[in-house]
Subunit: 384 residues, 4 copies
């Protein structure tokens, strides 16, 4: 934050529980220290929302009953919010984002972008009309080393992508899934709230997004196998997807939420003509770069040889680990840079700021919906 | 080798070049020290074969023109070979194995078993009739920790398999493939010698076999995508396969021979109801075991807590690494144990000795042929 | 921060440059979000200090010329600071800490505590008289897994410590040291500002502290070899120390600031009668626990089996890395818990809050001074 | 072994038990396949020695009562042994080596070379007079990557050594040591058989040797602390040594045989002016190379970029692990190359073959004796 710039004002939609991802958003925004929370709809339940607003120091009259009400009211205030941060269950991303963009308010929204390609296309239209910025919170792209990977790829260090392998095993839903009954199931098990497909939309969208973000390549076809393992009520919790990318490269995605003993082991191997890049989010301060006929290299965040893109929001020196909080914070830093530029009349393509965009979000929604289509069609290729 | 037992006599078919896998077979057999090489067809070219036989100390009259000739001649000798070791290009596995089994000579043969399911079924018939033993050289099953994994699985430590992920990237064919012309192509690029499918038969068969060996589960259906990346003449060199196993579990297999910077990174994650097991052949002295709500455990070969199955052929103490030579040697030890037992009139099921069997080999041939079928049918499910 | 509690007010002494550790302190305190910066002496140079104060939103009249002036003035205000955060060069830790404690203001201070044992003893007296709290910013103790290690040790999981090995290689001073001339040398090369011994006080103190923090054991004797490698002007930049602890255990400490290619590789192996614990700060979300006749265990932060002590300030779920910022933030959380308790009249021993204490700091100062004594005496045992 | 060369004949002194290191020697020599065992004193006990000789196929009249008898008898035979392999307890290395060298028979002997510097000096004289070759079995130097490290160091890749850190924790003596009584103690606990110092001579000698082997630098002074931890009868089982090398570099050696949970974790960090090299014998197929301002590099055995020195005895392709057996076998290969050259009249300095030499062995004996001196003198510097 430069000397004379004021703190940006933001509001939240969602994030009303201590374990919600919205709490991590607040951590990251506090770490950045250049914004202040002034408004919100923290829960569907207005009572609860008010209680949380009070705890968070939000003025009572700026805790609203709905995103739509908040959008209109804040747009009308001279000291209205500069942007909104949306972290509700998936189904509300679309209406909430739309409401704020229509009022000319910039949006940072959780992933997946929305439930259907149609919703996503509509959001693209609205964004184009309103001229608002849209930042999609695909956390892993916020790691400095994801940006290093992107810079390396864009520089042609590994050549054209030939194939990519993405694994994402977790076990945090093992217990939940096995015990969940019809009554106590959470929004993640309810297609109307979560979207078609559960794990594929939840973690599959991270996987597709990271590859898209780093290589700029879109998935053009998928061949998917979605499974529901165990006795719970949830839809898919384990999936394998074979993909084709626009440049002809292939991909292999495996995700699981019942992988006993795995915490959050998102791992990508990008294989190019001249080399390969390995990123493992549980070890996010490093990247492995392999070049033809050379020893494997371990790139360490914050080094003298690091790319400007990964050094941009450096908070701690090399060897002093950064983590998920910084990943979120880096995305917000890129986004608030864009917001300040817009407010100052500077127009730069959103891609250049380094945060995931609405158009990537739409590609992601197409991706996971196509995976469900492929599954429903008996595991056949589906074009996007 | 017990005090009074004599060294077993064996012959080789193949293994005539320093870089052939047959040279590794000889290393392993020498390490074991309980056999002697007395006969062979080391090459298609009799001249070359004689030269090699001489170098290896094989009597001139026991270097033969063909496997068939050798089988008949050796069977007729009072000091004939106890077993034959076959390491020719794939196409010769079937006729050679058959020739020896028909003469009542036990066989250790390289993978894949043969080219087609029909050949494999015929070999099963011949084996049943002749009562000979058959050991398939799927190297990775020879690692002590593969046997530890098998013992853990059989004991139910991780419960029923739910899904499995196998990766096998290599880069040793990158240069070869890109430069290979019609004239200079090796047997691996010629379907008549290699079989339908190249990488899928070559490394895909290792992948399927390891899972089969450890869990006892057969693949019942495959959905495969085979690709030929780069400018060479070879068939597939990169593949993704989604599989179903007989117990309903799913699988995800990725293999590549153009993965720049990867040496021989065969890695498996077996995910069960109660835990998971991770094996990485480049780090073959360890196994990672993850159990529900417990820290991940690193099992080290040769420890006080190791299973008898992995301790059986221990050659070096814990912390003193064993490698591929021991993996081969362990398979031979199991096989020669079986041969000696048979010669002593003791009949035990081959499975119990711990080497991969003919029936596993047949499953493997069905597997890779089904993958090619799936590819040819436009990537659809093919039942085995 | 509970609902009705107000933000604590704090002031800073030091931290006036973007690369100063004080900037990381502010990051951590912002992440916690329960304090506000209201006063400071950010630099020796009042002009610079004012400029920084303004940037940080500190009222002009609360930017002071010296720590002493600030202590008196803030103590006199009804809205005076609740605690001070000191991050100046080492030499100023003592006078500044003393000044604030004498005014009854709680202190969080950077390491090492001070320059000499005499200063440290004086601080203990002042603390006892004033009844103020004192938190020493030994960062690595703030990692959740350091607290896990402490809980494991206190529970007797590895039995009594037998020996400990601590390594701490860095390379960040390689260039500096080689180029530094008499004119441009920084405070780290000036004994009056840095203390006797450079690396031994700077990183050696972290090493001794971590072991003391986790095991509760004091070093009673040292046998040290301090070296100045390379062409710079600095004192020691590489050292080896053999130690004895009060329970008879031995220790071996190696630290280097000219270890080319090492970022900040602080690593400890605690070896006990029944097991051992390994902590590596560059991989701070894990701990390796080895127990007799059992596989090595990898403990992952935030797991179901984690100790309450390491879960206490959990910010992100398991598998979502935390880093140095959280380590600092955890120390502050413990400290502000203590400050609030004191303000509420609750008196609990400082040890129980989990932050490093003044008495640990004094032990650390004795440690590094004894190391210099040992070096000066020709590398002989020096009792502490 | 070239076509026309005969197998070398060798005899053994020691190696009479399945768990003796001599059994590993035989494994390695069989793997090489270019030697045959024809004579031996396998045990002090002639009866036992004869039984073992018979099992190993050694003619009855070539099983001798003592090394001295064997040396004389074998030297007298036209088909006498080409070299002897000695793997007795330490105390017998000296008399046995001397006996064979005096008869002009080349020697491969286990470490440490002997018990005292005087013995070692005498062996140097005898070797000079007899013109025999002497190979010291310091196993870890046999790993291909130790030779890669040596080649890198000799090429100046990391510049002059500045400091070195060697760790060697094991736990295999924990149980033994605690239970050992006066009656049942093994030769390792008896100074007359083991030498002054136990662990320091046993594993300390490996540590000093590896550094000497790779860098060519001798230790010139030691400052040692030797400890006997636990209730057993053994001498030291844990030690810390600070060293000085002839070029002014320092060193830090920690060894332990009561490090619960550590298998055989020999690890070295060589720190030079321009970079550093890390070798970990439990992961012996790799080396980490760190160069200034560059990413860390993982060198993999058998790669296109590997040095000729490490490729020389390559047995398995990259990514197919080699282990301890190959380490032993590589040392023997270098030694038998030298023996054959000598027999053919070619004289090349022993250093160039790549096996550890007698002169290195003497340096090692001086090293561990000096460590004991340092301990006895109250942990003071002792010059070598
Ligand atoms: N980027 C990441 O790594 C990541 C991680 C977790 C979750 N997420 C995404 O964040 C979103 C929220 O997930 P979560 O795990 O925090 O869920 P959650 O159920 O824990 O929290 C959702 C919060 O939204 C509130 N809410 C529900 N309906 C609302 C409405 N209509 N208006 C306002 N608030 C409402 C709830 O009260 C709750 O506090 C999901 O879209 C999910 O995909 C992303
Ligand atoms: N288990 C493993 O890890 C592993 C590794 C490599 C190869 N293999 C298998 O081993 C086999 C051989 O592969 P390779 O890499 O050694 O091939 P290669 O081409 O290097 O060697 C094949 C050898 O067989 C000889 N040969 C060819 N035709 C013959 C015939 N008709 N009769 C006798 N000898 C003949 C050749 O002269 C050559 O020496 C293949 O089936 C392959 O799949 C297995
Ligand atoms: N805990 C850790 O991990 C860690 C890391 C780095 C530094 N440190 C410690 O933090 C302290 C500062 O180190 P640094 O690297 O930030 O040094 P630095 O030189 O980068 O910063 C010191 C700051 O203090 C200010 N200052 C100097 N004299 C002052 C005075 N008399 N009054 C007020 N401010 C003054 C300077 O203007 C500067 O902004 C040292 O004691 C060091 O040991 C600890
Ligand atoms: N290089 C390595 O990695 C390594 C590993 C282990 C041991 N060693 C060394 O090898 C030597 C033997 O150690 P070990 O562990 O095999 O011991 P061990 O006690 O297991 O075996 C020693 C063998 O020597 C025989 N022996 C004893 N006295 C003899 C004599 N006078 N003449 C002939 N044979 C005799 C014994 O019968 C026994 O078979 C030691 O010097 C040790 O330092 C080296």
């Amino acid at each position: 934050m430069t000397n004379d710039s004021r703190r940006l004002r933001f509001g939240m939609v969602g994030g009303g529980d201590a374990t919600s991802v919205g709490a991590l958003h607040r951590n990251a925004l506090r770490l950045n220290g250049d914004t202040e929370l002034v408004a919100g709809v923290f829960s569907h339940d207005l009572e609860k929302s008010r209680r949380i607003g009070a705890e968070l120091g939000v003025a009572e009259d700026r805790v609203y009953a709905s995103a739509e009400e908040m959008a209109v009211a804040e747009a009308a205030r001279p000291d209205g919010i500069d942007f909104v941060d949306i972290s509700t269950p998936n189904a509300f991303h679309y209406p909430a984002s739309k409401a704020f963009m229509q009022q000319g308010i910039h949006v940072a929204c959780e992933k997946p972008l929305c439930l259907t390609p149609e919703e996503g296309e509509d959001l693209e239209l609205v964004a184009a009309e309103s001229g608002t910025l849209f930042c999609l919170m695909h956390t892993f792209t916020g790691h400095a080393m994801s940006r290093e990977a992107r810079a390396l790829y864009e520089d042609g260090v590994i050549g054209q992508l030939r194939t990519v392998v993405v694994e994402y095993p977790q076990d945090w839903l093992v217990d939940a899934l096995e015990q969940e009954t019809e009554q106590d199931k959470t929004w993640r098990s309810i297609p109307e709230l979560s979207g078609r497909g559960a794990a594929i939309g939840d973690i599959g969208s991270h996987m597709e997004n990271w590859v898209h973000y780093v290589t700029g390549l879109r998935v053009t076809a998928v061949l998917a196998n979605l499974e529901a393992i165990g006795a719970g009520t949830m839809l898919d919790n384990n999936f394998q997807v074979i993909t084709k990318f626009e440049n002809g490269a292939s991909g292999f995605f495996w995700g699981s939420q019942v992988a006993v003993g795995y915490d959050n082991a998102f791992k990508v191997i990008l294989l190019g003509e001249k080399g390969s890049i390995e990123f493992w989010q549980e070890n996010n301060n490093y990247l492995v770069l392999r070049l033809r006929d050379q020893p494997a290299q371990i790139l360490s965040r914050g080094s003298s040889y690091s790319r400007p893109e990964s050094l941009k929001y450096l908070r701690t020196p090399k060897g002093h680990p950064e983590g998920l909080t910084e990943a979120f914070a880096n995305i917000y830093s890129a986004f608030t840079d864009a917001v300040r530029d817009r407010q100052a009349g500077v127009v730069t393509p959103e891609h250049d700021y380094g945060y995931p965009t609405l158009s990537m979000g739409l590609a992601g929604v197409r991706f996971f919906n196509a995976c469900v289509d492929s599954q429903e069609a008996g595991n056949t290729w589906v074009q996007l």
